[in-house]
């Protein structure tokens, strides 16, 4: 199984991950090698095996639907790259 430079560009876009043009071929080579390693799993027959999502097979715990957090907006926004009037700022999305 091997990935092309084009595949890497597509996956990087899905992940919104910038990859420098000159590094793409290297990622394609590395990822193809890793995929070969993963393909080894194909040799094992797993039909009928229940997938294991969690090591202890426990249920997600539920809690009462009550407010437990206090408003800490200023505290949290103190580390934000850009805020205004209590809002996070990003480049304009709609003209």
């Amino acid at each position: 199984m091997s990935l092309t430079a084009n595949d890497v560009t597509k996956i990087a876009h899905l992940a919104r991950l910038g990859i420098a043009e000159q590094d793409i071929d290297n990622y394609a080579k590395d990822l193809s090698g890793i995929l070969d390693l993963m393909t080894q799993m194909g040799q094992l027959d797993t039909s009928g095996v229940t997938p294991m999502a969690h090591p202890l097979d426990q249920m997600q715990r539920l809690r009462e639907d009550i407010v437990t957090e206090t408003d800490q907006r200023e505290h949290f926004q103190a580390i934000a790259p850009q805020t205004e009037a209590g809002l996070y700022l990003v480049p304009k999305v709609i003209d």
Binding site: L3, D23, L37, T39, P51, H75, Y88, P91
Partner: protein
């Protein structure tokens, strides 16, 4: 003072042989003296001394916590209110966490002093500590060698006596492998035993925090503080915490040890194999019975792990988008450019590889072939452990295929690096506890013995480690220049 055990330090503080301020100063000056190891990302000179002062007052007043006045260091993956938490990444180089991880709160409540935050592979992805934005950490046994990873800074701080003890996290071997390569004791608890709240997520179904110390006895004291149910972690396990020090001295007469035959294949360096066999022989002398066990699916642990861990990583790391915290690129053209460039500029190569791999494995058309398949293989591996641990009490084997390798030796080939975790990864897939203890040297470099137990058998593992450490002195060896 820097060679004393945690119990000795606690007694020294109580009996006023030294104060916590003196103790903290002694370790801060060792950290300063050995900066070239690059074990710390942040050193908290000021706040550590304030904490020490407060601890001294509590000790005098007679109402101090169990680790009152004891300096420790935290892996930089645990969020610390007011102190930078970088996770080894440029992405979080400016991140001051607005809250404490539960593990950090627990140490504060116990009265411990935090010396600083320890270097690590970026987002805990790596086996050599070479993936840190802050540069590689050096192994005190040979400073041209890696300390292992991802908790490399933690292992080095403890091995070089820059801190009496430290915390680590283990997703695929990140406590045990550096502990082995640096000659210290590291315990990866059962999944869910130690709270993950405020512990920056890499692969949430595998991540687990644990103690890194110079002996099993010290690790037991740390576990006592770290373990426990936490409602803030949705996969924390609601189960009583035993007294981890109570049965350290229990006899090992009749202990049944299994040696998975897949652990002793040709991949294992022959000198390593001899060291592990010698350690197992020591256990025979302590009264244990040894038999071989077969775990046929173990060999597929690496591919299954890298699918599951990469998939979970690609999902977890999507939160780093340059909007609410962390790195943001300069002058973004639009929102997509902001996301793409912030992530592209701030993540290192290994993190990018895993995000890409995980995104691919989860993408439409490939989910069944990779992610689902990996979860099925995970079940079969877990069943192998269940079967083996119904026949024996614990499993033993190596932690690593060889001793510490040279800095730069494996950086060009990610797969070579992945194979470093061949003996540790399966344990995370099963969610079991496992420990690495020093078991000798090969050409002057430490070798670790891995002991794997059943779910929630941490006290038993510590007992098994402690009895070995009563009979041997591997764990007391200090690297030259750090005595």
């Amino acid at each position: 003072m820097h060679n004393m055990t945690l119990s000795e330090l606690t007694a020294g503080l109580r009996d006023k042989q030294f104060s916590s301020v003196e103790l903290t100063q002694a370790f801060l000056s060792r950290i300063d003296q050995h900066q070239d190891l690059n074990a710390f990302i942040t050193v908290n000179d000021e706040t550590a001394l304030q904490q020490a002062q407060a601890a001294d007052q509590l000790i005098s007043a007679g109402n101090a916590g169990p680790l009152a006045g004891i300096p420790i260091a935290q892996k930089d993956i645990f969020c610390t209110l007011g102190t930078k938490t970088s996770c080894g990444s440029k992405m979080l180089d400016n991140f001051i966490a607005p809250y404490n991880a539960t593990v950090v709160d627990n140490f504060n409540r116990a009265g411990a002093v935090m010396l600083g935050k320890l270097n690590m592979d970026e987002f805990a992805m790596g086996s050599s500590n070479e993936n840190s934005f802050y540069g590689p950490v050096r192994n005190p046994w040979d400073t041209d060698c890696v300390p292992g990873g991802s908790s490399g800074g933690s292992a080095v701080a403890v091995a070089a006596r820059l801190a009496p003890a430290a915390t680590g996290t283990d997703t695929g071997g990140s406590i045990r492998q550096p502990a082995a390569l640096c000659g210290i004791t590291g315990l990866k608890p059962t999944y869910g035993r130690v709270s993950r709240y405020g512990m920056i997520a890499y692969a949430s179904s595998l991540d687990q925090g644990g103690p890194m110390a110079r002996s099993a006895e010290d690790a037991a004291l740390l576990m006592q503080v770290m373990a426990g149910f936490d409602p803030k972690d949705s996969t924390s396990v609601e189960q009583a915490v035993p007294d981890y020090s109570a049965c350290l001295n229990d006899s090992l007469q009749g202990l049944k040890i299994g040696l998975p035959k897949q652990f002793f294949s040709s991949a294992l360096n022959s000198q390593m194999a001899a060291a592990i066999q010698a350690a197992v022989d020591e256990y025979r002398k302590l009264g244990a019975e040894v038999k071989e066990v077969d775990m046929p699916n173990l060999e597929l642990a690496i591919p299954a792990y890298y699918v599951i861990a990469s998939a979970e990583c690609s999902s977890n790391l999507s939160r780093y988008d340059g909007v609410r915290f962390g790195y943001r690129c300069q002058n973004p053209e639009d929102l997509t450019d902001l996301y793409t460039r912030s992530r592209g500029e701030a993540f290192g190569a290994e993190v990018k590889r895993r995000i890409l791999m995980g995104t691919y494995a989860l993408s439409a058309g490939y989910y069944d072939a990779y992610y689902l398949k990996a979860q099925q293989v995970r079940r079969l591996i877990s069943d192998d452990f269940k079967r083996a641990l119904s026949e024996v009490d614990v499993l033993m084997g190596p932690v690593t295929p060889s001793t510490a390798f040279r800095i730069g030796e494996k950086t060009s080939d990610p797969i070579q690096m992945y194979l470093e975790d061949i003996y540790t990864i399966a344990i995370n897939l099963a969610g079991l506890p496992a420990m690495s203890i020093p078991a000798g040297f090969v050409e002057g470099m430490p070798v670790g013995l891995q002991v794997i137990g059943n779910y929630f058998s941490e006290a038993k593992l510590l007992n098994i480690g402690h009895r070995y450490q009563q009979a041997t002195d591997w764990h007391l060896q200090v690297p030259k220049g750090f005595e």
